[in-house]
């Protein structure tokens, strides 16, 4: 069993999985169908302001798990569907930004800067084509990097890191996410702390249930889906509803005339865009590989890189950056799309999720079982098949399947999704709320799970009101159990040495970096609030 055999088995696992239907005697596997359906749903939710990839992934996960069950056969169809959503939502997000100047996600905001002026100039279709092309190119590049790097990084981690280093690495990731995500490191740390607190309810190694206050519903810990879906979806639904309530009737939309000609992507334009796409894709991929930073910073950096190059090379009669330059759309979209593939590098090689989409892939793996993202996945055992490695290559195959769909039909689907932006929020949001609660009840079959979801929904709402990002909370909640276990194990493996995190060089370096990221973020935060006050 060499590496090539594993790759081939992964591809076959997707293509020859359980048959869904057959065309002319050729069976179409259920995984392919699920990737395609997920992709369609992803484009649609990406194009709907107020929804987005993570919300769609969150709602579909419990439903999919109850359809496909808890067998290893369920892994590829379910995770394929989630990957489809992830990929589809990336291109869908540009639609409302370009057509209606309403960015659905923070990173799509930068797309509006050049995309909406293009629409105003009657070049909406061209802007969408540029966005699609750049997005897919960036995404594909990032996937290639993922496939090359993840196994390599995993092997490196497994051979050099012992228990104390692994514990220190988890602490580093958490402090990095706390410092990098959201407005300020203090808010990030609060979010992380809350996540750890929630993770420690009812868990642990002792036989008595800790932190449950005697409640039987909490004895086996908080249900994963309730906490995550509550904080993420219910919180944002309540927030969106209150915002809608305040801003009712203000938005109005104008219909634009479309130019008849010059809406296609010429080779000359593609050649002009490629340097921008290339830079943004590299920047986005590097940022994506660091857990927790995510696509907003990538989009910002991609946009800044694009603007610098544009200032040097532009023709005098080209539009300014920010006033309808296709290069602006390309820089932003390539950067934020190239985050998604690279974001799975820490997930697959270390089991550490870096963004909300990765959180749901881990959640899927955990609820179904039989696949534990982390270093043990990439064991190229030769005498017997390592099923987890086959699944990993199956997932890569799903990603390329989604990319293929994206290249071929993605553009057409994307351009037809303008209609999604007309769904009124007062209808959409209650539907999302009901779907979420139903999905949770379906998976947990206990009313306690619904109450817990609502409680965390209120928490998620308050976090948004105070400008605290729920992402560090979710990541800390998922990693909390592992952090405690690894710390306990490292402590006992070193013969109960209290300095186990500091007295070997790699672990000490990780701990130093963990402290440093928070200190640097705090200083930057203080400097920016100082200059704001001055201004």
């Amino acid at each position: 069993m060499g590496a090539l055999d594993y790759i081939w088995m992964g591809i076959l696992a997707v293509l020859q999985g359980p048959e869904f239907f057959s065309i002319l005697g050729v069976g179409v596997s259920v995984t392919i169908v699920m990737v395609a359906l997920g992709f369609l749903l992803g484009v649609a939710v990406g194009a709907t302001p107020g929804l987005g990839g993570p919300i769609a992934m969150a709602i579909s996960l419990p439903i999919l798990v109850s359809i496909f069950g808890f067998t290893p056969d369920a892994l590829l169809p379910v995770m394929g569907f989630l990957i489809g959503i992830m990929k589809g939502a990336t291109i869908g997000g540009a639609v409302p930004a370009i057509l209606f100047n309403t960015p659905g996600t923070p990173d799509a905001y930068l797309t509006t800067l050049d995309g909406y002026p293009m629409t105003e100039n009657g070049e909406a279709r061209k802007a969408l084509r540029v966005a699609h092309f750049s997005s897919v190119t960036g995404d594909t590049f990032s996937d290639v990097v993922l496939i090359v790097c993840a196994p390599f990084l995993a092997l490196l981690v497994e051979s050099y890191l012992d228990l104390p280093e692994k514990a220190a690495l988890l602490i580093l990731s958490l402090s990095f996410i706390a410092a990098a995500v959201g407005g300020s490191p203090a808010k990030g740390l609060i979010s992380t702390g809350l996540g750890l607190l929630a993770a420690y309810i009812g868990t642990g190694e002792d036989f008595y249930p800790r932190l449950t206050g005697g409640s039987e519903a909490l004895q086996s810990g908080l249900p994963l889906v309730s906490v995550i879906l509550g904080a993420l979806i219910i919180g944002s639904v309540i927030y969106e509803m209150t915002t809608y309530w305040r801003e009712r009737g203000r938005a109005e939309r104008a219909q634009r005339q479309q130019k008849r000609q010059g809406q296609g992507l010429s080779f000359a334009l593609i050649r002009k865009l490629l340097p921008y796409i290339g830079r943004s894709a590299v920047a986005g991929t590097i940022i994506g590989a660091l857990p927790g930073i995510g696509s907003t910073l990538a989009a910002t950096i991609g946009y800044a890189l694009g603007r610098a190059r544009y200032a040097k090379t532009k023709h005098p009669d080209d539009p300014e950056f920010g006033q309808g330059a296709p290069e602006g759309v390309a820089s932003t979209e390539a950067a934020n799309s190239s985050v998604s593939g690279a974001n799975l590098i820490p997930v697959l090689s270390l089991g550490i999720p870096g963004n909300a989409a990765a959180v749901f892939l881990i959640l899927a793996a955990e609820s179904i079982g039989g696949f534990t993202p982390g270093p043990s996945v990439f064991k190229f055992t030769t005498d017997q098949v390592n099923p987890e490695l086959v699944i990993a290559f199956g997932l890569f195959t799903c990603m390329f399947l989604a990319n293929f769909l994206n290249w071929t039909v993605g553009g057409v689907i994307m351009r037809s999704m303008g209609v999604m932006t007309r769904i009124p929020k007062q209808i959409l949001l209650p539907c999302v709320l009901m779907l979420t609660l139903t999905a949770i009840y379906v998976q947990e079959t206990a009313m306690a799970a619904v109450w817990i979801t609502l409680a965390f929904g209120v928490m998620g709402y308050l976090m948004r009101v105070f400008g605290i990002s729920p992402l560090p909370f979710m990541v800390a909640f998922i990693l909390g159990g592992r952090l405690e276990e690894t710390l306990r194990q490292a402590f006992s493996a070193t013969g109960s040495d209290p300095w186990f995190l500091l007295n070997n060089p790699i672990a000490a370096a990780f701990m130093g970096l963990a402290a440093l990221t928070v200190i640097i973020a705090l200083r930057q935060d203080r400097r920016s609030s100082f200059s704001e006050r001055k201004a």
């Binding site: 009812g202 036989f207 004895q219 609820s367 270093p375 276990e485 006992s492 013969g495």
Partner: protein, 317 residues
């Protein structure tokens, strides 16, 4: 008159048939909930689900497996205790949940008397396993490495095995760093990754040992391991307590006798039949079925309870 006799005869035949079916062909009053004390997807969970599928196929019972993992099986035991005792709720765990774990956690307020054991399905080929690259052949090589001053870490899944590792070290003058991991798979992964030097693994080491990547340093059960018959018994190395846990199905106390017998017999018939998927899994992963039910099982559990109390007593000194 004739017709009256006829009716009477028919009625008595029906009544007789009905009594006969009570013993032989008990049917559950509704769907059976099977609470599994293991995380979904692992070998133990698969074993329970395969048995459930086969029972549905053979008897037409409807069985709904549900994961109630956590706290070493106590979460499942708590849920099972207050469930209706009519055969509609059964649980699957390791037998030591009802003995060692309950004795070790008096605050949970549970005891073996709260349950009716139904049937055991498989025992474990529990060995002390190390990576072959260490160059150790038996547990004695590890002892001498430790006596030469090397700090050795010992991976265990659960407090009972931790107690055993501690007592083993004590009997041989070695102070192991005992690392508690979640499940046997995690112990095996930690051994392969070099995170621990050795550990208790209950059967899944088979493939690795056959391939020469892993070594069974010793047998932790009361007889030699099928795969490594030359590995010494820990019983001969000063550890008085063998690891004799089994997979067990149990019901709440007070379940009717005919229900107990019908469910026990059905489960044992499934795992003893290598033609079934469940039976094949038990053969492959656990070295064949180890079944017990009724009086024999009651005696097994009582013995284990006595032995668990002794282990706790010894380890706390």
């Amino acid at each position: 008159m004739k017709s009256l006799l006829k009716t009477f005869a028919t009625a008595s035949v029906v009544a007789l048939a009905a009594t006969a079916t009570v013993a032989q062909d008990w049917t559950p009053p509704g769907p059976i909930k099977m609470m599994v004390a293991f995380r979904a997807g692992g070998g133990a969970d698969t074993h329970a689900r395969l048995i459930a599928e086969e029972l549905e196929k053979r008897h037409g019972w409807q069985i709904i497996p549900e994961e109630v993992a956590g706290r070493g099986g106590l979460n499942m035991a708590i849920a099972l205790k207050d469930a209706p005792a009519d055969g509609t709720v059964i649980g699957m765990a390791v037998s030591t949940v009802f003995t060692y774990v309950m004795e070790a956690s008096p605050s949970a307020g549970l005891s073996l008397d709260d349950y009716t054991p139904l049937a055991t399905t498989a025992a474990f080929q529990m060995g002390v396993v190390a990576d072959a690259s260490r160059g150790w052949k038996t547990i004695d090589d590890a002892f001498s490495a430790a006596q030469d001053g090397e700090q050795l870490s010992f991976g265990v899944a659960g407090p009972q095995l931790a107690d055993m590792a501690y007592l083993l070290g004590e009997a041989n003058g070695v102070d192991f760093n005992i690392v508690s991991l979640r499940g046997g798979r995690a112990v095996l992964d930690a051994i392969t990754a070099g995170d621990v030097d050795m550990g208790f693994v209950a059967g899944i080491q088979g493939k690795g040992v056959a391939a020469g990547d892993l070594v069974n340093l010793a047998s932790a059960i009361s007889e030699p391991l099928d795969q490594s018959p030359d590995a010494p018994l820990l019983l001969d190395r000063g550890l008085e307590f063998p690891s004799n846990g089994r997979f067990i199905f149990a019901a709440p106390a007070g379940i009717p006798d005919e229900a107990r017998q019908a469910i026990s017999d059905a489960i044992i018939a499934v795992v003893s039949d290598p033609e079934t998927e469940a039976g094949a899994l038990v053969d492959r992963a656990f070295g064949g079925p180890a079944t017990a039910s009724g009086v024999e099982l009651d005696a097994f559990m009582q013995d284990d309870l006595v032995s668990s109390r002794a282990l706790l007593e010894a380890a706390s000194q």
